[in-house]
Amino acid sequence: MRKSAKKDSRNAPLAAGMLTLAVGVAHTGGAAAGDIPNEEARVDVVYENATFARRDVGLSKFRNTLKIDIDRQLGRRGAFDDVGVNLKLRGTFDGVYRLNEDTYGNKAGGAVQLENTVGIPGSSVPHGGGLGSPTNPLTAGLAGLPGGGAFGFNSTDPSAPRYNPNEGLAVLGEHLHRTDGGVAFAVPVRPCDKDSRGCIKDYLDASRQELESPEFNDRWDFIREAYVTGSVPFDDGSSLFMKVGKQQVVWGRTDLFRVLDVINPVDYSRNNIYDELQDIRIPMWIMQAEYRAGATETFDDLNFAVVWNFDKFRPHNIGQCGSPNVILDAGCFMRGMKNLWDNGGTVANFANLGLPGLAATDFGPNQIGIRKAHLPSWSLSNTQLGVKLEGQKSGVGFSLNALTYRSQLPSLRGGIPARNPFDPVGAVDTQPQPHPYPYLIAFDVHFPRVNLIGGSMDLQVDSIKSVFRLEAALTEGEEFPNGLRKRLFSESRVFRYVIGWDRPTFIPFLNKTRAFLISAQLFGQHLLDHELEQRPLGKVGMPDWKDNNIFTLLFKGFYMNDRVSPQVIMAHDVKANATAIAPSIDWLFSDRLKLTVGANVKVGHGARKFDDCRTCNPFHPFSASPGQGPNDGSLGLGGFEPLGRFRAGPIGMAQQEDELQFVLQYKF
């Protein structure tokens, strides 16, 4: 399961060289920004413990992090007038996988029952007990299918291939919603070294050790950042600034939302969307070259930057199923689907046998699910390139940005070759199997190329003592689930924007001498090529909202010379009608010791329903509803899984993840 350390060894010499350069002269000292060379390096060592407790779960995080930052300013070196070397190391050990082993570790999960609204043999069946299982009395009815059909999978014989027992499992989405007549299937939840079912090679396949200590992997993530900076000055006062190495590149002017700030992927497994982006951006090997014209006759400041991300592609870490933070619960959906493809599995409430209700059905391997992830290999054409023009004019800061990159979110593309469980012998389906079937829920994972253009600006409006921050981007190439298309996905151009408003405001009865910071943001997303249709049983098309907005509000106060700082952050997803409220208080006990006590509470609507493609009729005529043609697509029967998550959003999907959070930080 562990990936070979050889795979990315091309980065290792550079990283090791920078490590030597920075550490070789490390002392506690300082490095200034101006032309102040300092032969000493500054070294900061910080330990952090984050202990979170989740409602109805118990311990959800016991993360211990050691961070070492080393900066050294070397001054003039050759053509460069201010060379600097920066190295940031980070190592984490999250004890939750051992301390709460029953929920997140090697003992997580168990045997599960899948809903079976047909009621035969009962209102639920065990994983491996659905239609197609020898233990299910309805299986006898499949005898009339060509070759007797190919339903059923191995849930009982450890010595036979594709053994998929009813252990170490959870029902997809069970922590958030009942199955409620929809589809569901079992999801393996143990670390991939303990249970490899559903693990997607090179994507979501972490062992317990990798979940506990995610930085110690074959990408050398313990070297969080390692870069060299320097400027080449020109006679006219302009300069060429270079920054090369493993780094974070931050575009845009907004908090929380990633409209332009999309160059680095993000590790959502660390704490969903709630950690500072600095801590969850995944640094990449990048070269930045920025021509700094400085003030010109027209602009107060003008700069042109080229950003070349030459690192091997990395997607977002969306969280592996079975770990505490699985954004949108997508990692569980994907792990369950991968298990369905590899080993088969029981799908709740699936088959319409002409009886009242629907029968939980045992699919065999290679019939439905996720086959594999196509992670772009390293090649020049797979690198990512951005340009940015940034400046100041008449009190307005602005940027124009363009980027061609790979989507860091997975796109599930249907149309892969699969097997027809109704007709395994090809009696009706005359093409040799496997072959693609329209509207079949069998996918490969892709990370398509996306092109982005956008811009940002900030301006001060003194009449209301406020600063406004604006950011907008238009992308093309993003892919979305779409039940109206035969491969169950389609592209859409997406327009995203953020309007941010910051206002320091005195509230004398709370603090006579210090203003509170009120910062509000409106994030909007508009899918320009959105498709949605009303079908007989419900809406079919793209589950993502065509237009949606999320409001955020930060209210932050400061007391005792800013050593005590309470704050509340709220985020409300308008269409999902889901809200997250995160009050916290920072107490800076000394320059070395900081304590943060907080909570993260969600209110509003949780899971949402959408067409689940049970009525997609991929195996015509066997899977057809009365009157349904071979390429008619879904009739719109839906449930919570699997696509409701795109309507519920990251806040709605985390409704059951209320937490109390304690963070202690100590600087040595």
Partner: protein, 432 residues
């Protein structure tokens, strides 16, 4: 006809500044107030230590809050010899060259015809309703930075005055550049291009403690006083530059007792205050020769020692104070919602540095005393000698209500190379 009359009236109003033309003698007096002798006040002689036993006798030479600190035993004050700090010849020459070319406009904050040097070298006239404004224009355009300077390092400590506990220690660097009206450093008189007509910019970076590391602040003031300052803050933990609203400059700076608007005594637009000249006094102010002080052993710095602090909570600079000619100016915020009700500034007549400032809360009660310690450049580091600049050597701002103070220790470099123009851009903050 009517228009012509109105124009004449406006010109008359605008001519207040030139109504009493300055003379060469005014210039000589302005830059050499001690040529004909130093001030004297009974009971205040070099070598005297003023404490609660003799403070009553020296009260006439003390600002009210300092008298109170001494009376209550919170500090003592050692009197040093008064001497001329000496001002840059280039600055004096620019004053002479541009004499009487400058005038006040119709509104507070409008300065017409200013080129370089001291705009109004004549003595303030108590009968002149805009005398306070003129004195403060002289402060705004004084030669306190020698066109650019760097403070590196700048140690700032937050202290509990009652217990003496140091709550926080920050290590920072600070750079200032004068974009226009330059007299000492090339390019003169202006750094070009300067499309927005910036007047002055300050760039600050925090190095310690770890939680504030890499925080950066950029403040730019425009030549046109009507324009709002542009303030940008880079937060290291966010790696993002945030533009600050103008009223954020009255928040405690990084949690200290100092607000950005307090920097150097007053760091804001002229038109945001009503200025009133309250008279001229001979006062004890923290002006001294750095190398003749008992300096601190910590923090250690190569070839330099910082000034020390003592008194209650170590909130008072341990330097000698000299009796100097001082203009008293009161500034009242135009905005009634401002966090303070007024400041009283004590402006040094030779250098126009603001070494003492008393800040009153919204109820009109004394809130803070801001002491800025100045040394002459001859008595500072050898590389600063000959520059004719009163060097800001450290400060203490004491919150008398909260019994809390923030103190600063500066190592100032009058070194143009250390403050290149590239520092003063938002992009530099992003890229660093």
């Amino acid at each position: 006809m009517k228009m012509r009359t109105m124009t004449s009236m406006l010109l008359a109003a605008g001519a207040i500044g030139t109504a009493q033309a300055a003379t060469e003698a005014d210039v000589d007096k302005s830059f050499g107030p001690y040529k004909s002798g130093v001030p004297t006040v009974a009971g205040v002689k070099p070598g005297t230590v003023i404490d609660k036993s003799n403070v009553e006798a020296a009260k006439g030479a003390l600002i009210p809050s300092m008298a109170q600190f001494i009376k209550s035993g919170q500090t003592t004050l050692a009197v040093g010899e008064t001497y001329s700090f000496g001002i840059s010849k280039n600055y004096i020459d620019a004053t002479r060259k541009n004499l009487n070319k400058v005038s006040l406009g119709a509104n507070v904050g409008d300065l017409v015809g200013f080129v370089a040097g001291r705009p109004f070298p004549q003595e303030p006239d108590a009968k002149d309703p805009r005398a306070g404004e003129k004195v403060f224009w002289n402060f705004q355009h004084n030669n306190r930075i020698g066109d650019s300077y760097t403070i590196w390092p700048w140690y700032m400590e937050y202290k509990n005055m009652a217990s003496g506990k140091v709550e926080r220690t920050l290590k920072q660097e600070y750079h200032i550049i004068q974009w226009k009206h330059r007299v000492d450093q090339e390019p003169r008189p202006e750094v070009e291009p300067n499309p927005s007509q910036l007047l002055r910019s300050g760039y600050l970076k925090v190095h310690e403690p770890q939680d504030l590391k890499d925080t950066q602040l950029l403040i730019s003031r425009f030549s046109d006083d009507a324009k709002l300052d542009e303030v940008y803050l880079y937060l290291g933990f966010q790696r993002r530059v945030r533009r600050l609203a103008s009223n954020q400059v009255t928040d405690p700076f990084l949690g200290s007792d100092l607000m950005v608007e307090d920097f150097e005594g007053y760091n804001g637009r002229m038109r945001d205050m009503k200025w009133e000249y309250k008279g001229t006094r001979d006062l004890l102010v923290p002006f001294y020769a750095h190398n003749k002080q008992k300096l601190a052993e910590e923090p250690k710095e190569a070839d330099f020692k910082f000034i020390d602090f003592g008194g209650e909570g170590a909130c008072f600079p341990n330097v000698t104070w000299q009796l100097r000619k001082t203009y008293v100016i009161e500034s009242v915020p135009v905005n009634p919602d401002h966090v303070i009700s007024k400041r009283v500034h004590y402006v040094d007549a030779e250098t126009y540095a603001l070494s003492l400032n008393e800040i009153y809360d919204r109820k009109g009660e004394l809130w803070k005393t801001f002491i800025i310690a100045y040394t002459d450049s001859e008595s500072h580091m050898p590389k600063n000698a000959g520059r004719g600049v009163a060097i800001n050597d450290g400060f203490s701002i004491i919150d008398v209500q909260a019994k809390h103070c923030s103190t600063g220790k500066f190592k100032v470099h009058l070194d143009q190379e250390m403050s290149p123009t590239k520092l003063f851009s938002v992009q530099f903050m992003r890229g660093s």
